[in-house]
């Protein structure tokens, strides 16, 4: 009986140990500020408490022996400590480190503007791109309201920080999209092939980008397609310029979207007379297929196919034959496919792999001449990521690019064709590390080695960027890198031994971000090496092509966005100062290229009027004069155009939950912007070179569209369930 008693006594004692221990202390952040409301407790027990406004906590526990003390607070890394409860009172003074994975931690921001829906560091969202007045749903159109870009109204592509249009490259899920813009003829602006709705995130890098990307001297536009299969729905767009229909089907772990589109500007151009003479208004038919399949909890395969066929015909005055018009007719076939795969390999490793293929065929008739250009591009890339810890990650990768070009030229239908062909293989390996030295400092060293098979040329490109978080809302970052890009195909066809051009970027950035307000200022310097250089013969054909061209670009980009101060209002302002000169092409000496405006300014405002269920928007863009060469003047590139103005307005009206009416007008003031002049090759009778202005296709562009979304349950009557 005694044993029973002892047994029971000890059992009771063990289970309801009467000894109480008080655990108390304080929770602070790295700057010794008290953290309020942190959850402090012993793991696997009910015992715990929350820290008070001064960061103090205190609780009692009956537990004894070894336990784990856990402290968690929003935005901070969870703290765990093994403790031994053996006295009446235990005191802990704990400092919580900011969660490095949370968005408040330092990130590399120099050079890059992020757009997307998930992250808080975003500058623009997909909706912003669609609803920016004047952008007309074009990604590059919207990006032109950000600093660092140039307004080049006769082209439509992205011109970044003194770089030409082809120096900005587009990557989709890491894979290069070689022909991201619709085919167009000289002086007729183009737009991007890809719909902004395809992407969850857009990173627009104006310089200093990661070692993963190359073949882009000035800018990388990195687009990542959406991951999550959304609901099953059908979207129909009816627009003054055409129509498209998309059906998207979502399953548990997969989704498939099919899109068909037809565009024809003929009816619009019939109603609204154009300043240019088009005998065949742009017409295109195309389709795309987007598929995603989740292969495991961490694995995902994405595939994307986009096909487009387009035609357009324009008559342009030929300044060398007064009274004569050149007829230009363009037919373009374009196919882009891309497949990418990512998966975790155990806890620390992950792999990302992709393959893209582009086929582009352009047939151009200029009067009787025929030019046929076929391009094929392959791009394969694999990257392994090793997450050593929360504070260090290493990426290593390799890529291969192939370009096959075939150009046929015939003076007229019956003459012999002249063939030019080019095959290029580019290989690269790269490695890059993200290292948090402290929670305030991240460095990203990287190195890349490129090999161009055609020229049998190696080059090494070091990259380095770092960021320092000055306080909760602001940070300073810097970047340096060498970037290589092979010359445009037109030059390589004339001389395949021309080597890649190189640009060195130096960037210093300050960023402040707080509650819907963003301020950025960035200074940069770029040095261009080995640009194309040639002389013109008597027929103005390029001869003696070489790589001795060079140049520089430096400037200041300022951005301010505020979406908090005005209720239902949102605005951003951008200013870019650009000082650049190049001695390339046939320039006799270093000069400012014709696409450059020294000052670029843009302002965008959006306001949602709840009572009208309408979002109203306006954007204003101003660019200072651009230089052009006037052969009547002694000096080279001495002419200056007038400044560029463009005020655009738009309105989106939510008629019903699933029906949106959208309208926008670009250049409402009807400013007659002149982008430059074309001069005759020979002087006229009076010894003067005649000229003609390069102008906008029309002073205004009016766009009206209706967008309808049909879902299974969006507006389906819910009453049947009652």
């Amino acid at each position: 009986m005694k044993t029973v008693f002892i047994f029971l006594l000890s059992y009771t004692f063990l289970c309801t140990s009467l000894a109480q221990t008080t655990i108390q202390g304080s929770v602070r952040d790295a700057e010794a500020n008290p953290l309020t409301g942190a959850n402090v407790y012993l793991q696997h027990t009910y015992d715990g408490s929350s820290s008070d406004t001064l960061g103090y906590f205190s609780f009692e526990t009956a537990s004894a022996g070894e336990h784990i003390l856990v402290i968690s607070a929003l935005g901070y890394a969870s703290y765990q400590k093994k403790i031994i409860i053996d006295t009446e009172k235990l005191l802990f003074e704990v400092i919580l480190q900011e969660n490095t994975k949370a968005m408040e931690s330092v990130t590399i921001s120099s050079g890059a503007f992020e757009a997307g829906d998930s992250k808080k560091s975003v500058v623009l969202s997909a909706m912003d791109i669609v609803t920016t007045a004047g952008a007309l749903g074009d990604i590059s159109g919207a990006l032109q309201t950000l600093p660092g870009t140039q307004t080049v109204g006769e082209d439509g592509r992205l011109f970044v920080r003194g770089g030409e249009g082809h120096e900005a490259q587009v990557f989709i899920d890491g894979m290069q999209a070689h022909t991201p813009f619709n085919a167009s003829v000289p002086n007729l602006p183009t737009r991007g092939r890809f719909s902004p709705f395809l992407f969850k995130g857009i990173t627009f890098s104006t310089g200093g980008y990661s070692a993963e990307y190359d073949q882009a001297l000035s800018s990388a536009l990195i687009l990542n397609t959406k991951d999550k299969p959304e609901q099953t729905q059908t979207d129909i767009s009816l627009m003054t310029v055409g129509t498209d229909i998309t059906h998207q089907h979502a399953w548990e772990t997969a989704s498939l979207a099919v899109k068909g589109e037809y565009m024809n500007l003929a009816p619009y151009q019939f109603l609204v007379p154009q300043d240019i003479d088009m005998f065949k208004a742009p017409e295109s038919v195309g389709g795309s297929l987007v598929g995603r399949k989740q292969t495991s909890a961490t694995g995902m395969i994405k595939g994307y196919i986009n096909y487009n066929y387009s035609e357009l015909g324009v008559r342009q005055n030929n300044i060398n034959h007064p009274g004569h018009k050149d007829s230009i007719y363009l037919i373009n076939d374009n196919l882009y496919t891309n497949i990418s795969y990512r998966e975790s390999l155990g806890k620390k490793w992950s792999v990302q792999s992709g393959l893209s293929f582009t086929y582009d065929q352009k047939l151009t008739h200029i009067n009787t001449e025929r030019i046929q250009e076929k391009n094929q591009y392959w791009h394969a890339k694999t990257i392994f990521t090793f997450d050593a810890s929360d504070l260090a990650a290493i990426r290593i990768g390799a890529e291969h690019m192939y370009q096959g070009t075939n150009q046929k030229y015939a003076l007229n239908a019956s003459s012999e064709t002249v063939d030019h062909a080019l095959k290029q293989n580019l290989n690269a390996v790269f490695a890059e590390g993200d290292l948090y030295l402290t929670h305030r400092i991240i460095i990203r060293p990287g190195l890349r080695a490129n090999y161009a098979a055609l020229q049998q040329q190696w080059n090494i490109a070091p990259r380095y960027s770092m960021a320092y978080k000055t306080n909760k809302d602001s940070q300073i970052s810097m970047a340096y890198g060498q970037y290589h890009q092979q010359l445009p195909t037109q030059w390589l066809l004339l001389n395949s031994q021309l080597t890649s051009s190189r640009a060195d970027h130096y960037i210093l950035n300050y960023q402040y971000m707080q509650q819907g307000k963003t301020f950025r200022i960035e200074a940069y310097h770029k040095q261009y090496h080995k640009l194309i250089k040639y002389e013109l013969d008597l027929n103005r054909n390029p001869v003696n092509l070489n790589n001795t061209g060079k140049g520089y670009a430096r400037g200041l980009d300022i951005f301010w966005r505020d979406r908090k101060s005005i209720p239902n209002g949102d605005y951003w302002l951008s200013y870019s100062l650009l000082d650049t000169k190049r001695n390339y092409l046939h320039y006799p000496h270093a000069a400012v290229p014709g696409f450059v405006s020294r000052h670029n300014f843009s302002a965008v405002y959006k306001h949602f009027v709840t009572a009208l269920r309408t979002q109203l928007g306006a954007s204003y863009q101003w660019a200072s004069s651009r230089p052009y060469h006037n052969p009547n003047q002694e000096a080279f590139q001495a002419g200056r155009t007038a400044a560029y103005h463009n005020l655009s307005i738009n309105a989106a009206f939510l008629f019903k939950q699933n029906i949106i009416f959208y309208t926008s007008t670009s250049n409402v003031l009807g400013t007659r912007n002149i982008f430059g002049y074309e001069y005759a090759n020979q002087p006229g009778i009076q010894g003067e070179y005649a000229r003609q202005a390069i102008v906008q296709p029309a002073s205004r562009f009016l766009f009206i569209g209706v967008f309808v979304t049909l879902t299974k349950n969006g507006q389906v009557n819910q009453l049947d369930q009652l």
Binding site: M1, N568, L719
Partner: protein, 211 residues
């Protein structure tokens, strides 16, 4: 004698287990009481912390997580904090994994989407509005007797109808139906979700004023 000791000891151990279960019940009861009395965001955060502590011990139970999430959604709304709401999503994801077919959890997910829309209608509305409807409809399908799922669906429909100046009749009918469900609701356990009746009543009030 030996068997007696054995029986006694066994009984004792059993009693201890009963007591432990009681511990959960007591802890939940205290949490529910604290929740009733929590007036300030600070107090609400403390209760949410408390439920999270219970959740860390009672890994089989989903209700502690449910209440932690429910409180944090309301906190996120009061403090207009996306960050709070991000944290809730993690809670919900964990619960979703365990309670795949629980209408209450699905309804809470819909509630979270709805609060997110209210924080930034222009940016979140277009994407989340259809998602909210889908999630809440799913919750209603899982359990047509769940008054909260129906009430939230009605609230969403009512708000949408008001915004588009269309007929609120359907939403009002739904609210009425949810109120009947609230009346009839047999709470499965003392701690089962029971909130939402006041919201339904206030929507019904608006419906009446609108007539």
């Amino acid at each position: 004698m030996k068997s007696l000791i054995f029986t006694f000891a066994l009984f004792f151990i059993f009693a201890q287990h009963l007591l432990a279960d009681n511990g959960y019940e007591q802890a939940m009861k205290k949490g529910m009481d604290d929740l009733q009395n929590a007036g300030s965001p600070e107090a609400m955060n403390q209760v949410a912390n408390y439920f999270e502590r219970i959740a860390s011990v009672e890994t089989v139970q989903w209700l502690p997580n449910y209440y932690a999430a429910y409180i944090r959604i309301n906190l996120g709304f009061m403090e207009q904090s996306d960050e709070q709401l991000d944290q809730v999503q993690t809670h919900l994801d964990q619960m979703m994994n365990k309670q795949k077919d629980e209408s209450e959890v699905m309804a809470l997910q819909g509630y979270l989407h709805m609060i997110r829309i209210s924080l930034d209608p222009a940016n979140h509305g277009p994407q989340l509005a259809p998602k909210t409807l889908e999630t809440l409809s799913k919750a209603v399908q899982m359990n047509p007797e769940n008054p909260r799922a129906l009430m939230l669906l009605a609230q969403m429909q009512y708000g949408t109808a008001q915004f588009f100046k269309s007929d609120t009749g359907e939403a009002c009918q739904m609210v009425a139906k949810s109120l009947t469900l609230f009346e009839q609701e047999k709470v499965a356990s003392t701690f089962s979700p029971a909130w939402g009746k006041e919201i339904a009543q206030s929507i019904q009030q608006e419906c009446k004023e609108g007539e």
